[in-house]
């Protein structure tokens, strides 16, 4: 899933400082699951904004709303009757949400409440880790299901680099060296020889380097 972090309250307060009636819209998708943009977080943000503004003597009206997803026009459309009642709208979805909203309601002002960080999962309750970089060409089968693109700080394909130290990455002792894990897993499976094969340079055109991407499934597209 997409993992995100909420922006600081002051950053959000600053975005909406000139407005007195706003709507906070959450998303029931990934951001609910990673506890950052579901209904509860919508309520927490709404309450925090009201407290912050009231404290400064500039009370603000904040309404709360949750959409099934903000990345599908049909759900986004559910706002159409109310969206104009507000001076501005804050989206708590990943970076996709406010953009879909902006496109659907060109006259309204939309602000993101979260920083979208990575594709990953919860390794335990409350801790999420990155697993995928969305590079567009998956090669993890070469590395026993461990992705060096997302999980090596240098995205090395023929690692490890010289900075691997006791299984940790040189950039931080908090970060595992994925190449250490790959090598150990290969040893455990008796397939270390696999690594004699040199992985050629990656074709990055399928990643962000190739410009904005589009995914199509011809059989699904309705040609009207």
């Amino acid at each position: 899933m997409i993992v995100a972090d909420r922006k600081s309250l002051n950053e959000i307060l600053d975005m909406v400082k000139s407005y007195s009636k706003i709507l906070v819209v959450g998303c029931k998708g990934c951001v609910t699951v990673c506890n950052v943009g579901g209904l509860k977080e919508v309520q927490v943000l709404a309450a925090s904004l009201k407290i912050g503004r009231k404290k400064d003597g500039q009370p603000i009206e904040v309404d709360e709303k949750i959409l099934e997803r903000q990345c599908d026009p049909e759900y986004v459309e559910q706002l159409k009757d109310i969206v104009d009642n507000y001076d501005a709208v804050i989206s708590m979805a990943c970076g996709v949400g406010p953009q879909f909203l902006s496109e659907a309601y060109p006259n309204q002002k939309f602000f993101p409440a979260v920083n979208t960080t990575f594709y990953g999962g919860a390794v335990s309750h409350g801790i999420w880790e990155e697993r995928c970089a969305g590079c567009g060409t998956c090669i993890i089968h070469y590395f026993d299901g461990l992705c060096p693109i997302a999980r090596c700080s240098k995205s090395l394909l023929n690692g490890p680099c010289g900075g691997s130290d006791k299984g940790k990455c040189e950039i931080s002792k908090e970060v595992d060296c994925i190449w250490d894990k790959i090598v150990r897993k290969k040893i455990a499976q008796g397939r270390l020889a696999d690594l004699l094969h040199i992985t050629p340079a990656k074709d990055w055109r399928t990643a962000r380097d190739g410009g904005p991407r589009k995914a199509k499934r011809e059989e699904l597209i309705q040609n009207g």
Binding site: S8, L9, N10, K40, Q43, V44, A47, S48, K50, I51, G52, K54, K55, D56, G57
Partner: protein
């Protein structure tokens, strides 16, 4: 700020320990300031960040959560969750420029009537020192 400031403080007390301790303080006729008003909840694990923020939004000068002793929670770990939520609200308040000391987590057993009174005293004194919630002063102005 005048000396006559009487803060409005709400305390979320769990049924098994803190609320029972408050009753015991009554049985023991211990006096403490009347500023504290209690809402009973089954376990401090039921206290939501939203409930705490709601109280501040409404103009609470102080808010505290009182549960069982750590390790003694009737529901195993509710009080530990509550402590984390109180920490979260402290951070939120600080971020908004409001004294984080206005919210607190306490632990006590049902036999600790005197401790309940002490906490009520402590919290009332603390909030009196801090003065009215900035939300209230602005409203007055």
């Amino acid at each position: 700020m005048s000396d006559s400031f009487e803060p409005q403080i709400i305390a979320f007390c769990c049924k098994y320990c803190a609320y029972a301790a408050a009753d015991l303080a009554g049985s023991m006729r211990l006096s403490y300031p009347s500023n504290v008003k209690i809402t009973q909840i089954p376990c401090t694990g039921r206290v939501d960040i939203v409930h705490l923020l709601r109280a501040f939004e409404n103009g609470a000068d102080g808010v505290y959560v009182a549960g069982c002793m750590e390790g003694d929670c009737h529901f195993v770990s509710g009080n530990l969750k509550a402590r984390k939520r109180v920490e979260y609200v402290k951070k939120t308040l600080a971020e908004l420029g409001i004294e984080p000391e206005r919210v607190e987590m306490y632990n006590l057993s049902s036999a600790m009537g005197p401790r309940f009174a002490e906490i009520a005293n402590e919290m009332t004194a603390r909030i009196k020192k801090l003065g009215p919630s900035p939300l209230n002063t602005k409203k007055a102005a």
